[in-house]
Amino acid sequence: MTESHDNTIDALIPEVAAELVEALNLDETPEEIDPDEPLFGDGLGLDSIDVLEIALVVSRRYGLNLRSDDDRNEQIFASLRDLCRFIAENRTK
């Protein structure tokens, strides 16, 4: 990965964190979300309902349509940083 690529991801993190907090009505503030913490299970504790909300945010704001048969899904939703990496690499707007 190039340095500029990592910078792009770092720049996306606060923006996507704010989107998640708003869309999912989370207890945390955007700054409180650890970008490397798991989004599901014992991390942020998101569920499948949240995934649909995230998919909507991602499609509207970044022009990306998620699919279940994408083998990368587990990787995409592993953490906030992974989600931002996916957005940075695939966004159409």
């Binding site: 009505n25 989370l26 207890d27 945390e28 504790g45 649909l52 279940s68």
Partner: protein
């Protein structure tokens, strides 16, 4: 026909082994194929050292679920259908039904936490029935009194409550629902094969929940429809699965999924029928769906306890029409009892209804203690009992916060206030996740040293609400102790 036979109904209405039941892309699977695979599973169950009387069918794929269900029907084993697959919920179920085997999809191992709960078997993949009746010569006839499934809902005591479903009532349920859905375009010549003959179903709801069980599994088995094996999740998946199905199509979904599908602006093929249930659908969404998909949107009213009992097309009118044989009776205090037809026992409905006439009613809203989040139902009593059963929790309350954000963003989560000295919010969430569907996990979860009580020693909704509002205003760092 002997007397004993008169009390039996065949597994599929026309007894036709060659009818296509399932579609998996280019693959068409017939009644005979499903029966052959179900027999294979039944033999595997038979070979187990102790007799099996119950199955917990956790299959995600429709074909796998159907094979598990039919195997159970052939072997007179009852399919237990829990409302969540949390480890605690499954453990409780197995403790109450010790002669149970867990069934799961064959393309992935069962999660280790569930595999540790008890005996489990992978459902065999569908295979072609050998030609001309080597193993399947005819469609079996099933006694109407046979117990097929026990479907669980939240009780009020902290323990899920099972609702027994017998074959005769299930078939009647599927038939009257299919009749109600096709009333505007009935083709009598097809009636023998089932009113939904020729319709291709795609569902976004699980097979194990009553709505999916009735509108997908039973609609295919008893209603004559052909079912896609997919259970698409993302809007892009739904669009792709729909496009793969031949016309006419029926999308079986919820207001929640429909909202996301339309909001995603995915390109969608025409869909002649849209079926919606589990939560009231807004008229604007119904109108939008009919315009976008070019079909008729029908809404089903029902519950796990009653099965499906009424239907309406929201764009044509707000009133619900009761299905054949169903009666409503208004009791004191706004309680409405549903009975008759395929309903197993008279049931007190969880909603506030207003009767318009003998056959029609209007839905006013849900009763105060009922919750519905993204189409999943529970009651405040049940959630509270589950919360208070956690080790270390002294007291706790779930409630619907008033101060949720203004746009009515869905789904609105519940809040909880908990007094549990030494416990962290995270440990409480983890314990709740074992027994509750994740949609019911509280957001926010506030830890307090003492419950706010009023002058008479009671905890009031206003006091709980004030806590949430106060904590929103205070330093967020202090809110979540975990």
């Amino acid at each position: 026909m002997s007397d004993a036979m008169a009390d039996c109904i065949p597994l599929v209405p026309d007894g036709n082994l060659d009818r296509v039941l399932l579609l998996d892309g280019e693959n068409h699977w017939t009644v005979a194929d499903v029966l052959a695979s179900a027999q294979e599973l039944q033999q595997a169950l038979d070979a187990l050292p102790t007799p099996v009387r119950h199955l917990v069918n956790l299959a995600g794929r429709r074909d796998q679920f159907l094979v598990g269900l039919v195997a159970g029907i052939l072997g007179a084993q009852v399919s237990l259908m829990p409302s969540t697959r949390g480890r605690g919920a499954i453990q409780d179920l197995l403790a109450d039904h010790p002669d149970t085997v867990i069934l799961h999809d064959n393309d992935a191992p069962l999660e280790p936490t569930l595999a540790a709960c008890g005996p489990h078997l992978a459902i065999p993949p569908l295979r072609r029935a050998k030609s001309q009746g080597e193993c399947v010569s005819q469609v079996p006839r099933i006694p109407t009194s046979q117990l097929i499934a026990r479907v669980f809902t939240s009780g009020t005591t902290g323990k899920p409550k099972g609702h027994d479903k017998h074959w005769g009532r299930l078939v009647a349920n599927a038939r009257v629902a299919a009749d109600a859905l096709t009333a505007h375009q009935r083709i009598t010549s097809k009636a023998q094969r089932g009113p939904l003959d020729g319709i291709h179903l795609l569902g976004t709801v699980p097979s194990q929940h009553m709505y999916g069980f009735e509108s997908l599994i039973l609609a295919a088995l008893c209603g004559g429809a052909t079912l896609s094996v997919d259970q698409p999740f993302f809007p892009g998946d739904i669009a792709a699965s729909l496009a793969e199905l031949p016309s006419p199509r029926m999308l079986v979904t919820t207001p929640y999924h429909l909202h996301h599908l339309l909001a995603s602006e995915c390109a969608l093929p025409p869909c002649e029928h849209i079926l919606c249930a589990t939560a009231p659908l807004e008229l604007t969404l119904a109108t939008h769906a009919e315009q976008t998909l070019g079909g008729v949107l029908q809404e089903i009213y029902g519950s796990t306890e009653t099965g499906q009992i009424a239907v309406r097309q929201p764009t044509q009118g707000a009133d619900w029409q009761l299905m054949e044989g169903i009666h409503l009776e208004a009791k004191a205090g706004g309680v409405v009892i549903a009975s008759g037809g395929h309903i197993e026992h008279p049931v007190c409905l969880g909603d506030c209804l207003e009767r318009v006439d003998e056959r029609h009613f209007r839905l006013i809203g849900r009763l105060a203690n009922q919750v519905n989040i993204a189409g999943k139902r529970s009651s405040i009593e049940y959630l509270n009992a589950t919360l208070r059963a956690i080790d270390g929790v002294k007291d706790g309350f779930f409630f619907r916060p008033r101060s949720t954000n203004a746009e009515g963003r869905q789904p609105e989560r519940l809040a909880a206030v908990v007094c549990g000295p030494g416990l962290s919010a995270e440990s409480i969430r983890r314990a709740l996740r074992e027994r509750l569907d994740p949609v019911f996990l509280p957001r926010p979860l506030l830890l307090v040293e003492q419950m706010p009580v009023n002058a008479t020693g009671k905890v009031t909704r206003d006091a709980l609400d004030a806590l949430v509002t106060d904590s929103n205003d205070s330093d967020l760092q202090q809110r979540d102790a975990s």
